[in-house]
C-alpha cells in the first residue's frame, strides 16, 4: 500500500517536472521578451560558470594549453615589436646618407621567368616613384619600374638585365652583380680586376655607388673565382631567398635628384 503510494508520488513528480519543462519551453519559444530574459540569464550563468571553472582548469589539465598560449603570446609580442620597428622605420628613420625606407608587402612575385618581377602594395600615394631600389636585410630585390596609386611593379634582380653595383666587403673591390639565370640563389660579379684579391667565403655587399641602393647591405658570399687574365669572374651565393619574400623595403634616396643631376 505504502509502496503504491510512493510509486504514485514519483509518477506525479515526473509528470509535474515534464509538464513544467514543457510549459517553460513553450513560453521561451513563444514569448519574445521571455526568450530575451532567459537568454540573458543563461549567458550570465554561463559566464559565471566559466569563470569559476577557469581556475580549476588552469590548475589541472589545461596547464599545458596555457603554457602553449603563453609561448604564442610571447611570439606575437615579438612580432608586434618587429612591426612597430618597421613602422618606425617607414615613418621616421632616415640614415646618415639620406636614405628613407618604405615598408611594403609583396603581392606577387615571379621567380621562374627570364625577366622576373614583383608587385608591391605601395604606390605613388606612399611616395613611391620609378627607379627606386627595393631591398631587404638580406640583399637586393630589384628596382621599381612602374607605379600606380596603390601598387608598384618591381623589376626583379632575377632578370637578365638587372645588374647591381656591389663590392667585396673585405677588399672593397667592386663590380656589377648579375643573376646567373640558372638558379635563384646564384649570381656572379664581373669586371673585378685580377689584382683585386677575392677568395671564396668573402662577403659581398652593396657598394652604394649608385643612387639606388644604400651601401653595405649584405648580398651574398663568394663561392668561386675564375679569371680570364684581365678580370675575375666571381660566383656568388645570394643570401636572399626570393621564394620566401613577403616584406621588403623600398629605398628612397633623398639626395637622388641632386646626384642624378650631376651625372
Amino acid at each position: 500500500m505504502r509502496r503504491n503510494g510512493t510509486i504514485d508520488t514519483i509518477k506525479s513528480l515526473a509528470v509535474f517536472v515534464a509538464l513544467g519543462i514543457l510549459s517553460i519551453v513553450l513560453v521561451i519559444n513563444n514569448g519574445a521578451v521571455q526568450r530575451y530574459r532567459v537568454l540573458s540569464f543563461s549567458r550570465s550563468v554561463n559566464a559565471a560558470l566559466w569563470k569559476a571553472l577557469g581556475g580549476a582548469r588552469s590548475a589541472s589539465f589545461y596547464r599545458a594549453e596555457n603554457d602553449r598560449l603563453a609561448t604564442e603570446n610571447l611570439a606575437l609580442m615579438q612580432e608586434v615589436a618587429s612591426c612597430r620597428a618597421a613602422a618606425a622605420l617607414q615613418e621616421t628613420v632616415t640614415d646618415e646618407r639620406g636614405y628613407r625606407f618604405i615598408s611594403a608587402k609583396v603581392v606577387k612575385n615571379t621567380t621562374n621567368m627570364q625577366n622576373n618581377f614583383l608587385i608591391l602594395d605601395v604606390g605613388t600615394d606612399n611616395g613611391i616613384s620609378d627607379g627606386m631600389g627595393v631591398v631587404t636585410g638580406n640583399g637586393i630585390v630589384g628596382i621599381v619600374e612602374a607605379t600606380d596609386r596603390h601598387y608598384c611593379r618591381v623589376s626583379s634582380f632575377l632578370s637578365a638585365s638587372q645588374p647591381a653595383s656591389v663590392k667585396i666587403s673585405r677588399t672593397q673591390a667592386f663590380g656589377p652583380l648579375s643573376w646567373s639565370g640558372t638558379s635563384i640563389r646564384k649570381a656572379h660579379i664581373t669586371e673585378i680586376p685580377t689584382h683585386a684579391e677575392v677568395t671564396p667565403g668573402d662577403t659581398v655587399v652593396t657598394s652604394g655607388f649608385s643612387a639606388i641602393f644604400p651601401p653595405e647591405i649584405p648580398v651574398g658570399t663568394v663561392t668561386g673565382v675564375t679569371s680570364d687574365g684581365i678580370y675575375n669572374d666571381v660566383d656568388v651565393d645570394l643570401l636572399l631567398d626570393f621564394n620566401s619574400l613577403q616584406h621588403v623595403f623600398v629605398v628612397r634616396n633623398l639626395d637622388g635628384k641632386e646626384i642624378n643631376g650631376l651625372l
Binding site: D8, K11, S12, V15, F16, L19, G20, L22, S23, I24, V25, L26, V27, N29, N30, G31, V33, Q34, R37, V38
Partner: protein, 168 residues
C-alpha cells in the same frame, strides 16, 4: 439535461469566460482575472494527480491558444495549481485527510474554509502566471503588487461564480 451535464456545461462556460476575459477585458497592467483555478478545483478528486495535472495543463494550453497569448503561461500556471490542489484541500479543509466526493463549493465547505482553499489555489496559480509572464517587467515590487491586485480580483470573481453555480 441532467445535473451532471449542467455542471460540465457551466465549467465549460467558465473556461470560455476566461478566454473572453483574456481577449477583450482590459484590466490594466496590475490586474489579471483568472477563472481557471475554479475549473481546476472542479476536476474530479477521484482522478490521480498524474491525470489531473495533464488535464489542467491541457486546459491552460487551450486557453493560451484561444486567447492568443504566449503559449505555456496559463498552462504552466494551471499545472502548478493542479499540483497543489489536493495537498491544499487536505491541509486547509479536510478534517479526516480525505478528498471531497463532490465539487468543493462555499455551500459544501462553508465560506471560510472554501475561501482559504480557493485563495491558496488562486494565489499559487497567479504566482506561476506572473513569473512566466512578468519577465518583461520583473521587479519584486511589481510582482507583489500585481499578485495582490490580481489575487483580490480573481478570488472575488471566482467566489461570485461559485455562488452563482451553487444556487443552481
Amino acid at each position: 439535461m441532467n445535473k451532471q451535464s449542467v455542471i460540465i456545461l457551466s465549467y465549460v462556460l467558465i473556461f470560455l469566460l476566461q478566454v473572453v476575459s483574456d481577449c477583450f477585458l482590459d484590466t490594466g497592467l496590475y490586474v489579471h482575472i483568472c477563472l481557471l483555478p475554479l475549473v481546476i478545483i472542479a476536476l474530479p478528486y477521484k482522478w490521480k494527480p498524474g491525470v489531473v495535472m495533464p488535464v489542467a495543463f491541457a486546459l491552460g494550453l487551450l486557453a493560451d491558444i484561444l486567447s492568443g497569448g504566449v503559449l505555456g503561461v496559463n498552462a504552466g500556471a494551471s499545472l502548478v495549481a493542479s499540483s497543489i490542489r489536493n495537498p491544499a484541500y487536505r491541509y486547509l479543509v479536510s478534517t479526516d485527510g480525505q478528498l471531497p466526493a463532490q465539487i468543493p463549493s462555499s455551500v459544501l465547505l462553508h465560506t471560510g474554509p472554501y475561501l482559504r482553499y480557493l485563495s491558496v489555489v488562486v494565489i499559487l496559480y497567479l504566482a506561476a502566471y506572473i513569473l512566466l509572464d512578468a519577465p518583461a517587467r520583473g521587479t519584486a515590487s511589481f510582482f507583489i503588487a500585481r499578485l495582490a491586485a490580481s489575487a483580490g480580483a480573481s478570488i472575488a470573481a471566482c467566489y461570485a461564480l461559485n455562488l452563482l453555480l451553487s444556487r443552481n
